[in-house]
Symmetry: D2
Subunit: 347 residues, 4 copies
Amino acid sequence: MAHIPVGILGATGMVGQQFIALLAEHPWFKVEWLGASARSAGKTFRDAAAWRLPNRLPDEVANRMVDAAEPGGAPRLVFSGLDSSVAGEIEAAFARAGHLVVSNSRNHRMAPGVPLLIPEVNAEHLKLLDAQGESTGWRGRIVTNPNCSTVVLATALAPLCQFGLKTTMITTLQAISGAGYPGVPSWDILGNVIPHIGGEEEKIETETRKILGTFANGRIEYHPVTISATTTRVPVQNGHTESISVGLAERPTPEAIIEAWTSFKGRPQDLDLPSAPPRPIVYLTEANRPQPLLDVNRDGGMTVTVGRLRPCSLFDYKFVALGHNTIRGAAGVAILNAELMHREGLL
Amino acid sequence: MAHIPVGILGATGMVGQQFIALLAEHPWFKVEWLGASARSAGKTFRDAAAWRLPNRLPDEVANRMVDAAEPGGAPRLVFSGLDSSVAGEIEAAFARAGHLVVSNSRNHRMAPGVPLLIPEVNAEHLKLLDAQGESTGWRGRIVTNPNCSTVVLATALAPLCQFGLKTTMITTLQAISGAGYPGVPSWDILGNVIPHIGGEEEKIETETRKILGTFANGRIEYHPVTISATTTRVPVQNGHTESISVGLAERPTPEAIIEAWTSFKGRPQDLDLPSAPPRPIVYLTEANRPQPLLDVNRDGGMTVTVGRLRPCSLFDYKFVALGHNTIRGAAGVAILNAELMHREGLL
Amino acid sequence: MAHIPVGILGATGMVGQQFIALLAEHPWFKVEWLGASARSAGKTFRDAAAWRLPNRLPDEVANRMVDAAEPGGAPRLVFSGLDSSVAGEIEAAFARAGHLVVSNSRNHRMAPGVPLLIPEVNAEHLKLLDAQGESTGWRGRIVTNPNCSTVVLATALAPLCQFGLKTTMITTLQAISGAGYPGVPSWDILGNVIPHIGGEEEKIETETRKILGTFANGRIEYHPVTISATTTRVPVQNGHTESISVGLAERPTPEAIIEAWTSFKGRPQDLDLPSAPPRPIVYLTEANRPQPLLDVNRDGGMTVTVGRLRPCSLFDYKFVALGHNTIRGAAGVAILNAELMHREGLL
Amino acid sequence: MAHIPVGILGATGMVGQQFIALLAEHPWFKVEWLGASARSAGKTFRDAAAWRLPNRLPDEVANRMVDAAEPGGAPRLVFSGLDSSVAGEIEAAFARAGHLVVSNSRNHRMAPGVPLLIPEVNAEHLKLLDAQGESTGWRGRIVTNPNCSTVVLATALAPLCQFGLKTTMITTLQAISGAGYPGVPSWDILGNVIPHIGGEEEKIETETRKILGTFANGRIEYHPVTISATTTRVPVQNGHTESISVGLAERPTPEAIIEAWTSFKGRPQDLDLPSAPPRPIVYLTEANRPQPLLDVNRDGGMTVTVGRLRPCSLFDYKFVALGHNTIRGAAGVAILNAELMHREGLL
């Protein structure tokens, strides 16, 4: 199969670098365009960016010239890891010019016509793309993925919706890589906990309801679950851990919940997409799991691990979930979004 | 004033060392007896124990001979930092022999006649000591302090009881010093989160209800609050951080809650006890506080700091609390217990 | 090719687990026997051991019955990750009984007839095996690999011997995984440096001279280099970093040294052994490399990375070296030793 | 005694904050002026700066108006924690205008007429101030303290000069607080080692020779010791650990060296200056000391601890030294410099 050329917006940033790393061996997509700020444009990637990942930087990308973040030379499919301070306008300009923008940025996530996609959870939301075209007049489209902590939560909750999900209380323990680079100063986080991440609690509370919502009449009807979130930063490199308590109208047995998680699958698994893990959710039976160091890289970082399911004296059940924030929670899920769209004929 | 001689049971362990460190300059109490296992008995403390605290080991303690953990040579007042595998019987033996045992161990905490004491919260529970004498026939008595994570929670909740405290959801992020020495292997916790601490959730859920309970008719009537706890270990040296959500029947304003915390005082403050902080609870207004690195040592580690009070969409309010687990949560609160008993004439 | 059955002595320990993890997909060797202490014997591996690696435990190993650490049922080739408190006698018993013991333990390393092997550095030392047989009368043999910090140093020094290596000053910054499990308590190392590792400095100073020595007349003539080592523990999960200064009689140019490292190869590369990295040493040109987080897993953790070559005002040159202590420095190099012996017809 | 008013240049930065924290209870000096960049000028300190220390910010400082970093309203004595990008000119302007600038910045350290002072080591270098006045024509003066890692080294070496110090090889393991705020990104240092700190090795190699040099004929004759330094950053909050090897012409016994360290004193001890520790150097006999977590705060962070003295096979002796980089290595030593100058009548 011929490769599908892709571009990367915000290529020099940390999300951009994650895109480059994850696409290095991709069977379908090939990075053929890099867009970044005016300061980087005109330089090779090697000169424009300090590569900060343990993965090796592919020579072909290293030697590629970085372009300005403007539509024109870019391929039709563009991944965006742009900073939210500029992503809104640039991504819209690319969509207007006919590009399919698969974005990790928050700017367009909550727009009514924009799918906020976790392919295993709400592939159906791609039907929004018609409405998006009508309301914007864009020749291209924007598809987004959720905030990293939301991806983990929404994935773990998706199989519970069948039990009448009513309430969700969550406290997160989030890795420092979620804040990008330079991100969190070591002065603040070494041996410490920061019990606040700006805007994160609101994102969890609102994005999750859109993701779990239903497509009907050309729009998403939000899921009625009430969510209350507290977000904290902990000295962990990769992996957001989430302490979650849920109220379920149907009061299922623990076995039914574990079965729901274990059997959970979506379009990516049906279509055997390249970045799809065998199972989106794995339940761990050991009493002290999941743990970032041991579980975050399972299946290339694309699996959400869950454990410690037990009764909650206030709601119905509580459990712990974990996901790789820069892979399943960012660049990896975006790539899975594009894979799904390709196989669904939407590219 | 002449010094009051005190003994330390479990002197070579980490809680014992904390007692020694905190008592080094104490205006009333003077360590004159050290009790430990048979392996240590007959050696000087310096030879029997590896001192693991940044505080300097006082020469007088270092050169003192360690005794077996048996009543006999010990002074009337004995602090116990014994491991729970042996604390039950040894502490009872000391109480039987006429000693006043001020214990940090969990063994006797939930016994009906044993005060589970945070002096600012439930000094009144010392009235249990009569019942304890009657039911046991001991000449001495046992007084305990709660588990470290419970001390922080119960202190933060105490001023909220006046608003009709109904429900408490809590997720803890606990420091490694809470597990003693050698405690948590670095292999398990460096850059990691362990989402489970054996027995800790049960302790929080039950101890808190006793502490907040009411003394009536010679016994404690437990507080009716329903608590659901998740406990995790994080790579922090000292300081348990707690994400807490509460339901309050009276639905007070945020200002009323902050005023309740800020004005909260107890007998230790009234009596100006040596280890009493000026205020047991301090509310921090910065959006990202409290933090272990910045706040845990406030007032010698005896203050509980609270922050981030805001509405909870599931209960009424949520907030973050922090306390020093080995000082306010262990040796420091035990010493405050003894100070209170001394001033109340119970020694 | 039919698989070669192998056994693992000390299978439940951390080095044993590393052997299991690294052999899970091995093209030649298949784990068919597990030996451990009497406490584990008779249980399945899953029941006998707490699996502590992020790698997934292969089901076939998990369900295998653990045997006592005695020769008998074991295959001819046995990897040993035994604790040094018992390795001496058990390994000798296996060698006496005809087994080929490829050991990571320190007990037999310095014995005159035992190769202390880094396959790229001193494959020729396998010629010692004849002398070993003569002096011991064993039907089998023991081959050892060096201490983890020594492997990194000796590999980096090997290409410098051609320049007349006279002196080596080294300070190490060693990862906590080098101490096994439970190993270093988090109380001691979180946010800390421990400037001492028992016995480690002596091992570096003596083992290196044997490894770099010459086989002649049936014995190893030690390399005359004088080494002075200081070893420290730092809060790093994997990867020993080494600050090294060398005196070189020939006073080569920096370019000559880098060329010597870059072109360095050994028998494993010539024979294209399965665990051999393309190049044993990679020189990194960035000013702030190598770093554990970024470089330790290069080529499956089998590459030693070197950087910061610059003149030393006291000796001739100084540089920084890094290697994965549990892979290149332990289980990985042992497996490479066995691969070499297999291809050299010594199994 | 009436307080001596002092000003702080660069008051909002991390060194400035350390000055404020250490001067909060100072018996002589009182902060009465704060100077910072134009962005901060005209605001209260509380509004201009984010306070990042565990020490409590004194209300009086918090409410003080920040001034521009220009001479004029400032008191005669000014501490400077200015960033080196601006310190050179601003400090000179203050000295020209008649201020006594006690600076922690590197800009003027190596100027021939500027004392590079550790009061216990080279108080005599204050005699340079005459020459400084003559060569510059300034009405005021500049006195500097060394780079943080140099302070620890030079203090530990000072008592060894009597034994004919010839050579010093050093590898440092430096805390993140040495890099200020935001300083080292957690992405780079959490669980990692960075084997390079820009410019640090040169500073150690040159500053030490000036500090240990001799005042003669109106200038400093540098000490002839040859130093070779490697500097690394480790995930430690406070405290630079240094692995040091020295060549000593006189070949003293280990006992003589320890005696030299233990008996070492300087003018600050003779004059009983407020910030002077009882002994500038303490030798620890435990095999695994000094350690940052346990030893860095000894005597308010003003003591350099030394341990592990043992023979070096390449030079004569090796040992490990530790000092608090932001106290003894920065703000604390600067305050001690000012205290010494006050008592010597140089203010």
